[in-house]
Amino acid sequence: MSRFPLHMETMMEKKNLLLLLACMALLSLIAACAALDSGTTLPTAHPEDLGKGNPTCTQCHEARVGTMNYQRFNHTANFLATHRMEAYQNEQLCAMCHQTSFCNDCHATRVELKPSIKNQSETYRSMPHRGDYLSRHRIDGRLDPTSCFRCHGSPKSATTCVPCHG
């Protein structure tokens, strides 16, 4: 069992070392290319503090401006089910307003609490697995187990499932 994030012995294994070297080489190459500016660098933090509640970007921004399609990022009532593509293509944009810790309530290699338990009093949020999910999950899981695999598909993120499912 490893106890440290970067365990020296294993890190020194040839393959990983090679990989790390390759990454470093790539890194310096990119640094050299950093002159390849796009001219549209995002701010690291959203200039306006939006507080709580799901934002509708187009309330303050035009639907499409320059390289930004603001309409796409409107946090609609269904955003929980649809943010996947937005996140895959624009994680840096999400990071303007969200620390990764925000995502980690639902996306983590291992957390113990259901997001709806950790944030029980934030009832205005559309959390997955609200209420008694233990009973309902077998139906959702039988009909469409694909989303379950995305969040519970690794040995660690399936820790809760193992006692019943092996």
Binding site: P5, N69, A77, M85, T100, H107, T146
Partner: protein, 431 residues
């Protein structure tokens, strides 16, 4: 496999504390930092193999720290983790203590080209990756029309077997884009567990900005290991005044989608063993929001699963009304109409969250939640689940300290008259 949580529990806060102390000592050079601590104390009763009505008192601590490093423009440091200790004496958990470091990385951003380097434990959300990585991520634009990101290191999720020897994770995404017209990405990801391929995937994603504000999003994923398409997901978003209509289609092939090396999760390996059975989903959502106080949505989803011959149609709607501050009340109602009665249920939810009320102090709130499910075929002899929760909270010290309490009640196939309580103390400070 023996866990070593006790050591971790000493280690994790120790690491965090020393880092915080570094920050404290160097406040002159640390330009800006923020620390957020959430302490959760839960209480409930459970039956264990040995005893009944054992009291469980888990105490959770979630700690997040972010700091900008002075002197180096664009350099920052981020840390997040949680720990738990059961203060009850009932041996409810496998180990009374547990802790995880979710991330701890150094982040560098250049002023140009959206150039970004991250080193350490981090989450990678890119192309087809939704992974926790101990390693490095590099991201940059390549002129105005192209970008890329690449990452490599050790996969955090796969260290449960044989530690980390032979484990590796790497991949990246290259994309071409132009304004809001299109964003076309090509990604690759490979992970190995104990020197065996765990997953090897390629993906194509496309976002197209069409006429009249219509948007197309698509994602296709290829399982390189089995050379089969694992997934196709496509959607359109059609805005018509204050309504957005989203028709979508998804299809999955079991062995290609769920397939990992045998060291993966038994539950999903069993699904992968269903071979080239497919699952297809055709659905649509309609969202109505006019910028005012009403938000409404409708959903229809038709699932056809030929891995087990189960088909179903889900339809439902939700409505929320918001007022001053964060005042909000809402309700949701849906029905999963499965081919067989054991796959059918009705789901209803109603909630409120109020923080602007005549007698309520500034910063205080009350919240409530009710979730009801009615099963067409009883589960363990019970045909419904009822969950109810009430919460209240308030803020002190210029809003940097928040205290919340909540109580939950559940009557369901697994628990009879179950009561749970939780106290949350959140503290945020920074400079």
């Amino acid at each position: 496999m023996k866990k070593r949580p006790a050591r971790w529990l000493v280690l994790a806060p120790g690491v965090m504390l020393s880092l915080l102390m570094c920050l404290g000592v160097n406040t002159a050079s640390a330009q800006q930092y923020q620390v957020e601590s959430d302490t959760l104390m839960r209480f409930f009763q459970r039956d264990t193999l040995a005893e009944t009505d054992v009291s469980v008192w888990p105490l959770y601590e979630y700690l997040r720290a972010d700091a900008n490093v002075d002197g180096v423009q664009g350099l920052s440091f981020h840390l997040y983790g949680w720990g738990r200790a059961d203060l009850g004496d009932g041996n409810y958990y496998e180990d009374d203590t547990d802790a995880k470091l979710l991330y701890g990385y150094v982040d560098y951003r250049a002023e140009q080209a959206n150039f970004l380097v991250r080193l350490g434990r981090q989450y990678v959300f890119s192309g087809i990756a939704n992974e926790s990585l101990d390693g490095v991520l590099v991201q940059s634009d390549l002129g105005p029309m192209a970008s890329f990101s690449a990452y490599g290191g050790l996969p955090v999720a796969l260290d449960t077997q044989n530690g980390r020897s032979g484990d590796v994770l790497y991949g990246g995404r290259f994309s071409l884009h132009r304004g809001t017209l299109y964003d076309l990405g090509l990604s690759y990801k490979k992970s190995e567990n104990d020197s065996e391929t765990y997953q090897e995937r390629m993906g194509v994603d496309l976002a197209l900005g069409l006429w009249s504000g219509i948007q197309f999003n698509g994602l296709s994923v290829l399982n390189v290991d089995s050379s089969g398409w694992a997934e196709h997901s496509y959607e359109l978003r059609i805005p018509v005044r204050s309504v957005t209509i989203r028709p979508y289609y998804q299809s999955f092939v079991y062995e290609d989608y769920f397939g990992t090396s045998p060291s993966g999760v038994a539950l999903f390996n069993a699904l992968a063993a269903r071979g080239n059975a497919t699952l297809s989903i055709l659905g649509g959502d309609v969202n109505w929001y006019n910028g005012g106080r009403i938000n409404a949505g409708l959903k229809v989803k038709s699932i056809s699963n030929d891995s087990n011959g189960e088909d179903a149609l889900y339809y439902g709607g939700l409505l929320s009304l918001s007022g001053e501050g964060m005042n909000e009340v809402g309700a949701e109602l849906g029905y999963m109409d499965g081919d067989s009665s054991d796959n059918s249920y009705l789901l209803a939810r109603a909630y409120f969250y109020l923080n602007r009320m005549p007698r309520l102090a500034a910063g205080a709130f009350v919240s409530g939640d009710l979730v009801y499910a009615l099963y067409d075929e009883a589960i363990y002899g019970e045909d419904y689940s009822l969950f109810a929760s009430l919460g209240l909270g308030t803020k002190f010290l210029h809003d940097s300290l928040q205290v919340k309490i909540s109580g939950d009640y559940s009557q369901d196939p697994y628990f009879d008259n179950d009561l749970r309580g939780m106290l949350v103390v959140s503290y945020l400070f920074g400079r």
